[in-house]
């Protein structure tokens, strides 16, 4: 029983990370129908940036979020101007297709760039508290994992509040519902899209910090994109609260799979869940039937 709770707790800690990984993707996809599969690559780059900051400036990884996130906001801004803005004029289906092609190319570029710059070796950021655990009735909870879970919940709730309680958040939601109607209401759609896209990129920085605390290499970008897409389907497109639920649920299901069958089949359970959701609840766990 102790083993089960141990595995489940790791699953939930992982689930928080999955939610965070899918967050930026969900925001960008929800607002402007860009399926930005390069998201995993950005997270991987953010991990390397955290590593660089940690090794050269000796700043704690959790604090380095304050540096990484703005940097990725700027990268998002630039990439939107350079690559994605020209897609704005297309119809919904074309947008998905073209952005998928562009971002898949970017994903390959990022992964190879990272191999070129830092080689394919496994790396990790190891601050003083790595490996330290918090003991709850025999279940060992690592500090880094707990910090990550708390961070994930905070960030997702903060984004949810930003979208529902602020004026600019309202504008973003209006744009995601209908571009034309939003224009008629006096919203500058281009500006809103630019900012939302950059926020989506900035949100890649936060899971990047969390993945840097475990071993990572350039290849994780593909796995992370995979997970993000699964969570996106679980959550229902554009649902921010759903991302948290979906991520935690995926983590828990994977943990149950690991407990029942074994570690090699961890991915299988995520994928089975994905297929089942596609079959029986294509609008996602938290989505409403359209």
């Amino acid at each position: 029983m102790l083993k089960f709770f141990q595995i489940l707790s790791y699953g939930i800690i992982n689930g928080g990370l999955y939610g965070l990984v899918a967050l930026g993707l969900s925001l960008v996809f929800g607002v402007m129908n860009y399926l930005n599969v390069a998201h995993g690559g950005l997270i991987m780059l953010a991990s390397y940036m955290t590593l660089l900051i940690f090794s050269s400036l000796h700043i704690d990884p959790f604090l380095s979020i304050l540096l990484v996130t703005p940097a990725f906001f700027v990268i998002g801004w630039v990439l939107f101007k350079v690559l994605y803005q020209s897609l704005m004029k297309f119809t919904e289906g074309e947008k998905i297709k073209n952005s998928l092609l562009i971002s898949f190319g970017l994903l390959l570029v990022f992964a190879n760039l990272a191999i070129l710059l830092w080689t394919a070796d496994e790396r990790a950021v190891a601050p003083g508290y790595t490996g330290k655990v918090f003991d709850v009735f025999g279940v060992r909870l690592p500090y880094t994992g707990l910090g990550g879970l708390a961070l994930a919940i905070t960030v997702i709730i903060a984004l949810h509040l930003f979208l529902t309680r602020t004026y600019f958040g309202k504008a973003i939601r209006a744009v995601s519902l209908d571009h034309e109607a939003a224009t008629l209401m006096g919203i500058n759609v281009n500006k809103v899209c630019l900012v939302a896209f950059s926020i989506g990129f900035a949100l890649a920085g936060i899971p990047g910090v969390l993945t840097s605390l475990h071993a990572f290499n350039p290849a994780i970008s593909f796995d992370l994109t995979n997970k993000a897409l699964i969570v996106l389907i679980l959550a229902g497109v554009g649902s921010i609260k759903g991302v948290l639920i979906g991520g935690l649920f995926l983590g828990a299901v994977e943990a149950a799979g690991v407990y029942l069958v074994g570690t090699p089949y961890r991915e299988v359970f995520g994928l089975i869940l994905f297929v089942l959701i596609l079959m029986f609840r294509p609008q996602g766990l938290a989505g409403k039937k359209s």
Partner: protein, 315 residues
């Protein structure tokens, strides 16, 4: 009638090729072309005629290969094993493929992709090693039976798809592709025709898998399940595969000319698309694979490469 005559001419011509041309390279190339024909036509029935974009064909291809390999090694004749492999593909499809029809459009594509990933991971875990054929089979290994099997399968699939395209069944499939609601309105049972299309498609994919398994002497069990086999029928990767296969051919020519020991892996992979290309995981040389085969110089220099005689040491 003309296309049939043309096809008959081509097939008879190809059937005579091994009697005239002894260059292995040409035979390998024709086998590969047939293999990809089978796989592409299999995909064509489901994806082309019925409009269900499946990215899960590697599962059925791999299932055919897996069952073929086990039955063949157990002593069954290749053609019986081929049939069994094909039917097991169909069984697998009825277990996982037909429920997938609950998914529509893009969802079907990503759903089947997820299914094929599940199959790949499962096979990687259940059969982690390399599938060898026993030494006595390796001694008798010759391209001729493989060549004719490939030719027969290629012809059958082309004829089948040709017949299908001119039949009432084919029309029904096309109507499902064009507009599901309209097809249903004029009294076509969509689910039934999707199932028929999927069954035909998986049967043929299973045949292709069996051919692969007959052709490639040793491979990792997961290789025919690799996602590449789902994308290949739809893309131009055939060309790339042929390219790398030529490179290996050249390397082996060079090595055997100097009578050096040649890594058996290369020799065996000569018969297949270069398997390690693009499948980085686990495919690099392992101790299992470092079985050294030695060529007899004369075979390659003097008489051409009509039969591959090489002693297998330490098998």
């Amino acid at each position: 009638m003309k296309p049939i005559l043309l096809l008959a001419g081509i097939v008879i011509g190809l059937a005579l090729v091994p009697l005239v041309i002894t260059k292995e390279y040409i035979l390998n190339l024709i086998i590969l072309v047939s293999l990809y024909t089978v796989l592409s036509q299999s995909w064509n029935i489901l994806g082309g005629y019925t409009g269900q974009i499946s990215l899960g064909h590697s599962t059925f291809f791999g299932m055919g290969a897996l069952v073929f390999r086990f039955l063949w090694i157990a002593g069954l004749s290749p053609y019986l094993a081929l049939g069994a492999g094909s039917i097991s593909s169909l069984l697998l499809a009825s277990a996982i493929g037909f429920p997938a029809f609950k998914l529509k459009g893009h969802y079907f594509a990503i759903g089947t992709l997820a299914l094929s990933m599940i199959a790949l991971i499962t096979v990687q875990n259940v059969f982690p090693g390399v599938s060898f054929i026993p030494p006595q089979y390796l001694k008798g290994y010759s391209l001729f039976p493989i060549y004719y099997m490939a030719l027969i399968l290629g012809t059958i699939t082309i004829l089948l798809v040709y017949g299908l395209s001119r039949s009432k069944l084919g029309l029904a499939l096309v109507s499902v592709r064009e507009d599901e609601d309209a097809a249903e309105a004029i009294g076509i049972n969509i689910f039934k025709y999707k199932v028929i299309s999927m069954s035909l498609s998986t049967l043929i994919a299973g045949l292709g898998g069996g051919l692969f398994s007959f052709y490639v002497a040793s491979y990792y069990y997961y290789v025919p399940f690799d996602l590449g086999w789902s994308f290949d029928p739809v893309s131009g990767r055939t060309y790339l595969r042929c390219r790398c296969f030529c490179d290996i051919e050249r390397i082996i020519r060079h090595q055997s000319g100097t009578d050096e020991c040649v890594d058996l892996r290369h020799r065996l992979h000569l018969h297949g698309p270069l398997l390690s290309q693009g499948h980085h995981r686990n495919t690099q040389t392992t101790s299992e694979e470092k079985i050294i085969g030695r060529f007899r110089e004369g075979d390659l220099r003097g008489k051409g490469v009509r039969r591959r005689n090489f002693k297998v040491e330490n098998l």
